[in-house]
């Protein structure tokens, strides 16, 4: 058979058009025919024993479920801790004052001690102004 030159490397379309398509189809069919040949299944008289042994040695489903629940709970606690940590870092970076400092500012504005402070009263008086 005359060898045809392929022009396009991606789509499989060539200047020779249909002839090239026929060729590629034939070659693909030949490759598939090689691949289709059944795989030899090795003799393994102990296969079923291995499967049954794994079934017998598997942890009970309830144990696996407990493990999964524990892992999920631990992951949730870790995620919350990480979230709080990240929040604190972001606050610090953005200069957001800590709540206790905000309370101290209120006390200073009112000219009273920290023990005498009533933040609700302060907020109400601010709104009235």
């Amino acid at each position: 058979m005359q060898k045809r030159k392929k022009i396009s490397g991606i789509s499989g379309v060539s200047l020779n058009g249909q002839n090239f398509d026929d060729d590629t189809d034939q070659r693909l069919d030949a490759l598939i025919a090689d691949w289709e040949l059944p795989v030899e299944v090795p003799d393994d008289p102990y296969f079923a024993d291995r499967v049954l042994s794994r079934i017998n040695n598997r942890p009970a489903a309830s144990f696996t479920r407990t493990l999964t629940i524990s892992a999920v709970a631990a992951a949730a606690v870790l995620a919350i801790a990480v979230g709080v940590g990240i929040g604190n870092i972001v606050d610090r970076r953005m200069g957001v004052p800590a709540p206790e400092n905000q309370l101290m500012n209120v006390a200073n504005d009112l000219g009273i001690g920290m023990t005498q402070i009533d933040p609700y009263e302060y907020l109400l008086s601010e709104e009235e102004e």
Binding site: K6, G9, I10, S11, G12, D23, T24, D25, R27, L28, A30, L31, I32, D34, W35, E36, L37, P38, V39, V41, D44, F47, A48, R50, V51, L52, R54, I55, R58
Partner: protein, 184 residues
């Protein structure tokens, strides 16, 4: 022994019946696994996993389909999971190799014909490795296992039309992916 009888006995915990079922369906599972994983140990492990799942889920099996269809379904799901986890592992470890298919096993006494055959099969495996899972499953079940479109549809829980389309798309994609091979 027929499927229904096996099912009844295995549901009662009869391990002798389960052993018989394993012996009967092992070739089917092994052959199908072999089209997804090249490594012999992985195939064996996958085949074991399939039967462990059969034992575990036998009470959930309603019997709407035949046992073989159900076992095919478990096999392809397990195989796709294994392939996905192997890909993730390779990605994590930064290896260039994306599957074992790039290293076809060869024996010293193989004839030139066998080597060429293996090369052809490896090329198809490598190309199949890059196809979407559903196209790959439809193609393997139809071409390698020789299942009808109706049977593939039952395994994949799709319509026959959808299976036909998947097989057609798989073939078109294989053709594109192997275009470099045709130009040699």
């Amino acid at each position: 022994m027929n499927d229904q009888h096996w099912l009844e006995l295995i549901r009662k915990g009869d391990k002798t019946a389960f052993r018989e079922l394993i012996e009967h369906y092992r070739p089917l599972v092994y052959r199908t696994s072999a089209k997804f994983v090249a490594n012999v140990d992985d195939r064996d492990d996958l085949t074991q996993e399939v039967f462990i799942e059969v034992w575990r889920s036998i009470n959930k099996f309603r019997g709407d389909s035949s046992i073989s269809t159900w076992i095919y379904r478990i096999t392809v799901n397990k195989a796709l999971n294994l392939v996905q986890s192997a890909k993730r592992k390779n990605w994590y470890s930064g290896l260039l190799r994306t599957s074992d298919y790039r290293e076809p096993e060869t024996r010293a006494d193989e004839t030139a014909n066998n080597l060429m055959r293996n090369e052809g099969a490896s090329l198809i495996n490598m190309a199949l490795d890059t196809l979407p899972g559903n196209q790959r499953v439809a193609f393997i079940l139809s071409k390698a296992e020789g299942l009808s479109q109706k049977e593939v549809a039952a395994v994949m829980e799709l319509t026959e039309k959808a299976v036909e389309s998947l097989i057609h798309r798989a073939r078109t994609n294989l053709r594109k992916k192997l275009s470099h091979y045709y130009s040699m």
